[in-house]
């Protein structure tokens, strides 16, 4: 009878403070994603994208790397929670997220004096619809008909980009007032 010996391949994970912070922010973003899924919306693809508020705040306070972690964790976990993982909606969401992260990476270097979270938010929202439409056109609906709704998506991106950006700016202001955790 073999004796019980401790595994030699045991992996010890010691999460750092950074990991905890990413997890906390990702959790907040996932909650917003799930809550948002309950809101009935007239058109598929037109969503407020409330989770992006969290990503904007993380971007401004902790930088792009951490924002990317939060954004991608949100896409993966959010889709798992909603039962959308690897469904078409998941890939659209992933493409939108990657595109908006790329744009945010560039937009965050715009002069802070003139361009605030609202700029970041609107630009990221446009990148999001751009990424989604690209995947939709190349893979899901290989027909130019998908572009018929571009004006609607663009208007939604402008509107929700503005609102999310304003909320993020206000949260950043409120956070700046109290000492960092």
């Amino acid at each position: 009878m073999p004796t019980m010996t401790p595994s030699t391949t045991e992996i010890r994970i010691t999460p750092t403070a950074d990991d905890h912070r990413v997890a906390r922010h990702a959790a907040a973003a996932i909650v917003l994603t799930v809550a948002e899924a309950a809101i009935p919306l007239p058109l598929p693809g037109v969503k407020p994208g409330l989770a992006n508020i969290v990503i904007l705040v993380v971007l401004a306070r902790w930088g792009w790397r951490e924002a990317a972690w939060v954004a991608l964790l949100r896409v993966f976990v959010g889709s798992l929670v909603l039962g959308q993982f690897l469904a078409p909606g998941f890939f659209l969401s992933l493409a939108g997220s990657l595109a908006s992260l790329a744009v945010l990476g560039a937009a965050m270097h715009l002069p802070r004096r003139w361009f605030g979270p609202v700029s970041h938010s609107v630009l990221a929202a446009f990148a999001h619809i751009g990424g989604q439409l690209l995947v939709a056109r190349l893979w899901l609906v290989p027909h130019d008909g998908v572009f018929y709704l571009v004006p609607v998506f663009a208007l939604a991106a402008t509107l929700f980009g503005l609102v999310n950006g304003l909320v993020a700016a206000r949260l950043l202001e409120a956070e700046g007032a109290k000492p960092t955790p």
Binding site: F115, G116, V118, V150, P151, T158, G165, L166
Partner: protein, 135 residues
């Protein structure tokens, strides 16, 4: 009045967070919305009129400038009027005048047929709307 004032204060509290560049980005976004709507949602606009007589294409006319066309048929002459963006059968020797009473054709895919005189007027565009679908 106080309500209006409160609303303005509330809006001002949000507007504090808008910077100059943000205004520019928003303006650019709105311009993109308008331009994309104008360019993508004009698919039904015709740019050409195709006139057939006796089953053969008699003329293909650009819908840019106004002009009058006289198309001969077995009963006589059908007169077709072209104006920028629209066209109609102005006069036809047929007995029931269906194609004349159709009036101005304004969207791509629209057709007026003067069957007795064997003349038809059809508008075509880049993205013609369907005039019929079947399986």
């Amino acid at each position: 009045m106080t309500k209006l004032f409160a609303l303005r204060r509330w809006l001002a509290a949000w507007a504090v967070h808008l910077r100059v560049g943000d205004g520019l980005v928003l303006a650019a976004a709105l311009v993109f919305c308008v331009v994309s709507a104008l360019s993508l949602w004009q698919g039904g606009r015709p740019d050409k009129a195709i006139i057939k007589a006796g089953g053969k294409v008699f003329a293909e006319v650009d819908l840019a400038a106004p002009r009058m066309l006289e198309v001969p048929g077995p009963l006589g002459t059908t007169r077709i009027e072209i104006q920028p963006g629209r066209a109609r059968v102005a006069a036809d020797p047929g007995p029931r005048q269906y194609c004349v009473r159709q009036g101005w054709l304004v969207s791509a895919g629209a057709v007026a047929i003067c069957a007795p005189n064997q003349v038809s007027l059809a508008l075509s565009g880049r993205h013609a709307d369907y005039d019929s679908l079947n399986y």
